[in-house]
């Protein structure tokens, strides 16, 4: 069917100098810049996680000092959240694919896109500086007054890093919204858009509306720390809990910045490998928007035991359940999509199945935390740790892996080893569950999070968790190897190895710098697999 060589002209071959990469305005090259940087932070954050799990294998806290341990889990959180998860899917896959999916030559603001990456790098450098000169020990939540009056670690540099990186996220979201509104190919109406694009639209709304609030909050934190303004300081009559309100106004929706793009990937992958229209397209599309909007109404469920008003707690609990519904609707629709499909379980779909399983558990355990009566016990225990890892790793990272495997042939033009990809998916899935399921039980038994040492009765489950983590670590190494291997040795993929619909598959792999030789015109919906003739691949 296809040639054994990659197309001579593509975005990778359009320039080979360092400047052609560092000054590029091509969204695809910028996506790769992001891919490299976030992978670096994933590795760094992962090493921190390894250290945490080794430390917790014994109850005494004997590997590293308490102070070091606190810095390690803080940096694990800061790096993974602000420098890996938040930019991961939007800045890499979204950046690469949105213009292609809507038939555009680039994002609306290519220079702004490049600027976003530089802003991200500058923010990252501040944070890395903080790590190098001694770290920071406030937890990624930076709660006042600990962060403002007590901690003698590098809170300022880290805060500035997060503040700066926030603007990268804002500008990316802004770029996406404008692009999706203004740059769609002729005939590409809103209800013909791939659900990946809908999901990113919803994500961008959160980035635009939420991120500025964390920016001002972190700025106030820095000013408070530097000048003792009193805004969060009880000694002046300030309220440290106000910080929590402002912090979670962003940081709860931020979870949806991580998970919504992943949900978008689910819709693409499941439709493609079952060769079927997404069940309930408009429900899946609008549930993304519903999650984005409702996500802003629930933040104080992180504060049920922070002495809030009883009545406010009830309001926020009630609203928290409202987010569960659109999430559930999505999961049901994906499952229903499989019904009477033509299903081939290839690596991306295997990761997608992992996503569905883990996200379902993560979502359902979220109900335990939205329920006021049970949250009082579970709050700030390992139950919460397990819950959000099921969402952020089981959800966001499994989605990211599914997407990376799905579009890898498009990005690089080459196929990876299908067998190894499946092995890795299984190893990661098993390792993940072994790591984090015991943590639900630990939380139920009452083990608080952020504990350097713990009572001996919790050891068995912690050992189990640490053992799982070592499997998980190996699981992550495998894709690193076969994906790199595929760059030079992989078979040439051709424009559309999966027989997928979607404009991005209409052009060559790797694509041209301008994506399409001629601007495509769209005449039908996103997932018309039943109308298509499948080619043998």
């Amino acid at each position: 069917m296809h040639t054994q060589e990659l197309p001579r002209d593509n975005y990778l071959t359009s320039g080979h100098s360092l400047a052609s990469w560092l000054l590029t305005k091509d969204h695809k090259r910028i996506a790769l810049l992001y891919l490299i940087s976030i992978t670096a932070f994933f590795i760094l954050g992962g090493l921190m996680a390894v250290l945490i799990r080794i430390e917790l294998a014994t109850p005494q806290g004997d590997l590293v000092a308490a102070e070091t341990y606190n810095k390690v889990f803080t940096m694990h959180g800061v790096l993974m959240i602000f420098f890996f998860l938040i930019p991961s899917i939007p800045a890499v896959l979204g950046n690469f694919l949105i213009p292609m999916m809507i038939g555009a030559k680039d994002l609306a603001f290519p220079r702004l896109n490049l600027l976003s990456w530089y802003i991200y790098v500058i923010g990252a450098l501040f944070t890395l500086y903080a790590v190098v000169v001694g770290g920071v020990d406030t937890g990624w939540t930076f709660y006042t007054p600990y962060s403002t009056t007590v901690s003698n670690t590098n809170v300022l540099a880290t805060g500035i890093g997060v503040f700066i990186a926030g603007f990268s996220s804002i500008l990316t979201g802004l770029n996406f919204i404008v692009t999706i509104h203004r740059m769609r190919a002729p005939g590409l109406t809103w209800f013909r858009l791939p659900l990946f694009v809908w999901a990113h639209y919803a994500t961008s709304i959160i980035q635009i509306l939420g991120t500025p609030v964390i920016a001002i909050t972190v700025l106030l934190l820095a000013l408070e720390r530097a000048f003792h303004l009193g805004i969060f300081d009880p000694a002046f009559g300030g309220d440290p809990v106000l910080f929590q309100h402002l912090f979670w106004f962003y940081s709860h929706p931020a979870v949806y910045i991580m998970i919504l793009p992943s949900m978008g990937i689910m819709s693409e992958v499941i439709a493609c490998f079952s060769r079927k229209s997404i069940f309930g397209y408009s429900f899946v599309a609008f549930s993304s928007l519903a999650i984005a909007v409702f996500g802003f109404l629930v933040w104080a469920h992180h504060m049920f035991v922070a002495g809030p008003s009883v009545y406010a707690a009830m309001v926020f609990s009630f609203l928290s359940f409202s987010v569960a519904i659109p999430s559930a609707v999505k999961v049901f629709n994906w499952t229903a999509t499989l019904y009477k499909g033509s299903i081939q379980v290839q690596a991306p779909l295997l990761y997608a199945f992992g996503f569905i399983g883990l996200f379902t558990i993560g979502g359902l355990t979220g109900l335990f935390l939205a329920t006021l009566g049970t949250d009082v016990h579970f709050h700030d225990t390992y139950f919460v740790v397990a819950h959000f890892h099921y969402i952020m790793v089981g959800g966001a990272i499994f989605g990211y892996m599914a997407g990376l495997h799905f579009w890898w042939p498009k990005i690089t033009g080459r196929m990876y080893s299908e067998l190894w990809a499946k092995i890795a998916a299984v190893v990661i899935f098993v390792g993940f569950n072994l790591t984090f399921f015991p943590q639900f039980l630990l939380g139920y038994l009452g083990m608080p999070r952020r504990y350097h040492a713990y009572p001996a009765e919790f050891q068995a489950l912690n050992v189990l968790s640490s053992a799982g983590a070592s499997i998980l670590a190996i699981g992550y190494l495998i894709p690193g190897i076969y994906l790199l291997w595929s760059l030079t040795r992989g078979t040439v993929a051709g424009p559309n190895p999966w027989n997928a619909t979607g404009l991005e598959w209409e052009t060559q792999s790797p694509p041209l710098t301008e994506n399409f030789a001629v601007t495509p015109v769209v005449t039908e919906g996103a997932y018309e697999y039943s109308k298509r003739e499948m080619k043998l691949v």
């Binding site: 308490a66 020990d137 007054p145 600990y146 000694a235 009559g237 300030g238 440290p240 809990v241 079952s274 060769r275 079927k276 069940f279 309930g280 408009s282 429900f283 035991v305 922070a306 002495g307 009883v310 009830m314 609990s317 569960a324 559930a328 999961v331 049901f332 499952t335 229903a336 499989l338 009477k340 033509s342 299903i343 379980v345 199945f353 399983g357 379902t360 558990i361 359902l364 109900l367 335990f368 939205a370 329920t371 006021l372 009566g373 049970t374 009082v376 016990h377 709050h379 700030d380 225990t381 038994l445 009452g446 608080p448 999070r449 952020r450 504990y451 713990y454 009572p455 298509r532 499948m534």
Partner: protein
């Protein structure tokens, strides 16, 4: 409640997992050119799987909210204990003046209420076996309560990250038979220290700090009389009404101008930095004892040995 949540979760997780696996096997691709059936959706199904989860979550909400409401309202007959968090220890004070560090003794079958604050950062007083916790926040009082149902020793954890030795900020709660508890309390506590009842210490402070020069009992001083104030509604200069609870008294000592009682000028100086949290607690307890003469007679001795008196009350 927990069982209900686990059951609902297990049910839905199973339905989804089984659905995915069964579909993946049953509808596996049988020829390379095969495509899926043309099914785009079903409104009845969408409504079904929106409304059923909605109803289930509503049950969760009301059930959970009811429990929470109950958890946030300590019974009036509770035994009172003051707790102060400080990096990295828990200080407890019983009303009769017995002090404990990182341990607290409570009687079986009696509701116990903790009035808590912090001297530095936010902590969280967590009794995992009692299934309750509440953040301990500098600058204000929070409360939590429980009724122990089984004698024994249980963990106390700090659940809100508070710095280097956060994981060392742990302790033990000893649940004792009421009789043993009374004996323990009366003997001044083993391993604990006592400096006399809190309200007595408060009375001394009240004159040492010269509070009594303005807050004279007949209301003719520059500040309002404090007799009968505790627990009663106060009208403020700007028309707002507040209840004189421990939190209000604490704020009025530290930020006197925040809520000035109607009829008095904003004259009181702040005692920020001049009194410790423990001294404020003593003052609160003293102010509690200031009752109009008629009431004071009927409740004589009530607060002098509150711990014992309350412990003798019928348990709930």
């Amino acid at each position: 409640m927990l069982f209900f949540l686990v059951a609902v979760s297990a049910f839905f997780a199973t339905v989804i997992a089984v659905g995915v696996v069964v579909f993946a096997v049953k509808y596996r691709r049988r020829s390379p050119t095969e495509v899926g059936a043309r099914i785009t959706g079903s409104l009845p199904l969408e409504l079904l799987w929106s409304i059923i989860p909605l109803l289930i979550t509503l049950v969760m909400f009301f059930w959970g909210a009811t429990i929470y409401y109950h958890m946030r309202r300590p019974p009036t007959e509770s035994i009172e204990i003051y707790a102060t968090g400080k990096r990295w220890m828990w200080k407890f004070q019983h009303l009769n003046g017995v002090r404990e560090i990182n341990t607290v003794h409570v009687p079986l079958g009696q509701p116990v209420k903790f009035t808590m604050t912090s001297e530095d950062v936010i902590h969280s007083l967590y009794f995992p076996s009692m299934r309750t916790k509440m953040d301990v926040i500098p600058g204000r009082y929070t409360t939590e309560w429980f009724t122990p149902t089984k004698a024994g020793e249980y963990h106390i954890f700090c659940a809100e990250y508070c710095g280097t030795r956060h994981s060392g900020m742990i302790g033990t709660v000893y649940v004792m038979e009421p009789r043993d508890f009374q004996a323990w309390l009366a003997s001044g506590g083993t391993g604990a220290t006592s400096e006399g009842p809190l309200h007595v210490r408060g009375e001394k402070l009240f004159s040492d700090l010269a509070c009594n020069t303005c807050h004279v009992p007949d209301g003719q001083g520059r500040g309002p009389s404090l007799v009968g104030v505790f627990g009663s509604p106060q009208t403020l200069a700007d028309g707002r009404r507040v209840t004189a609870d421990p939190g209000y008294i604490r704020e009025s000592i530290l930020i006197p101008q925040a809520k000035v009682v109607a009829g008095y000028g904003p004259l009181m100086p702040t005692f920020q930095g001049l009194v410790s949290e423990e001294q404020i607690v003593a003052l609160v307890e003293y102010i509690k004892t200031l009752r109009p003469a008629a009431q004071a007679a009927t409740r004589a001795g009530d607060s002098a040995n509150t711990g014992i008196a309350a412990a003798a009350a019928p348990s709930k």
